[in-house]
Amino acid sequence: MNRLWIDERYCKGCLICVDICPEKALKASEGINAKGFILPAEADMTRCKACGLCELMCPDFAIAIGE
């Protein structure tokens, strides 16, 4: 199963990744982080096909999908 890596230093919580994921593998996390951002979180990573769209469309180089 693929795993989601979020670099909390870079992520600004725009949640584009959550929206564009064709498999709906991501979701917005519940709380806000120290900078006031809502970060993306795993919804159901078994659906992830590692298409790379979230990595490609992230404006802040903050997300990576790996095993």
Binding site: R9, Y10, K12, G13, C14, L15, I16, V18, D19, I20, F37, L53, E55, L56, M57, C58, P59, D60, F61, A62
Partner: protein, 274 residues
């Protein structure tokens, strides 16, 4: 693409970028680095041949000092002039200019049309968000008629520029328009543009969620809905902005043409050195 970023400078971290959450600019940088990465892997282009040049504005900050490439963050509107200079000194550069609609079409308009006319070997990525983001959402030459901005409180009385038509008329051999919601198309276009000997102009309609007061996700959806690929017959293009490759031809590049001038000058005796 983190390997291409100056994540850790000598004095500490340079990332995250200063761009606002969900800014289209960061996405365009991501797409571009993807294209660059593929070119380094596939083509015979060295990493050190790439040169990122920008002017001033949000779009210009994107490549300002975050990259593990040679880059220049210069004067408002003058990125293409600086790029011209770099190419005069070393024609081997693959110059990528990150610019915005204000930087390129207003203050830098003159350099823009003349760079296209000369056909210097640059790939221009123009992030068009229809306003001036860095100064707080003022009117840009690409703002549509009637739109309210901080300097057109009663609506914009002027027509807007079509940058693709402008660059095509000025003589650029490669012209394309996409939106930030077209990631794979942009990667392909940037690769084409960099391989193109001459000026490649790629306009990217880009979201400014802050000044448009919308969520990035909603803006991306809107961009996709408001555009229509050229040649698409299945749906009505009424009121929609065409996207796609408008032009892809071959034309002599400036430095190649100038080599002939050097040859001609070497033959002719100017009379000064007898």
């Amino acid at each position: 693409m983190l390997k291409y970023l100056k994540a850790e400078g000598l004095m500490g971290s340079r990332l995250p970028t200063i761009l606002c959450p969900g800014c289209g600019g960061g996405q365009v940088l991501n797409y571009t680095l993807q294209a660059v990465d593929r070119l380094i892997a596939k083509d015979d282009i060295r990493k050190e041949d790439f040169l990122f040049i920008s002017g001033v504005g949000c779009s210009s900050r994107i490549t300002s000092h975050y990259l593990n490439f040679d880059s220049a963050w210069t004067i408002h509107g003058r990125a293409l002039a600086v790029a011209t200079g770099a190419l005069l000194a070393n024609p081997a550069f693959r110059v990528i200019v990150f610019t915005g609609d204000g930087d390129l079409a207003a203050i830098g308009g003159n350099h823009f049309i003349h760079a296209c006319r000369r056909n210097i070997n640059v790939t221009i990525l123009c992030m068009n968000n229809g306003l001036y983001g860095m100064t707080g959402g003022q009117l840009a030459p690409t703002t549509e008629k009637g739109v309210v901005t901080t300097t057109t409180p009663y609506g914009n009385p002027e027509k807007s520029f079509d940058l693709c038509k402008l660059s095509e008329t000025a003589g650029a051999p490669y012209v394309a328009r996409w939106t930030t919601a077209h990631p794979r198309q942009i990667v392909r276009s940037v690769m084409k543009g960099i391989r193109k000997k001459g000026t490649a102009f790629i306009e990217v309609l880009s979201q400014c969620p802050v000044h448009k007061k919308m969520s990035p996700v909603a803006m991306l959806k809107m961009l996709k809905e408001n555009t229509i690929p050229i040649g698409n017959q299945s749906q009505s293009g009424e009121g929609k902005i065409p996207v796609g490759e408008f032009l892809d031809i071959e034309m002599p590049e400036w430095n190649d043409s100038y080599e002939n001038i050097v040859k001609a000058a070497r033959k002719e005796d100017c009379g000064l050195h007898e």
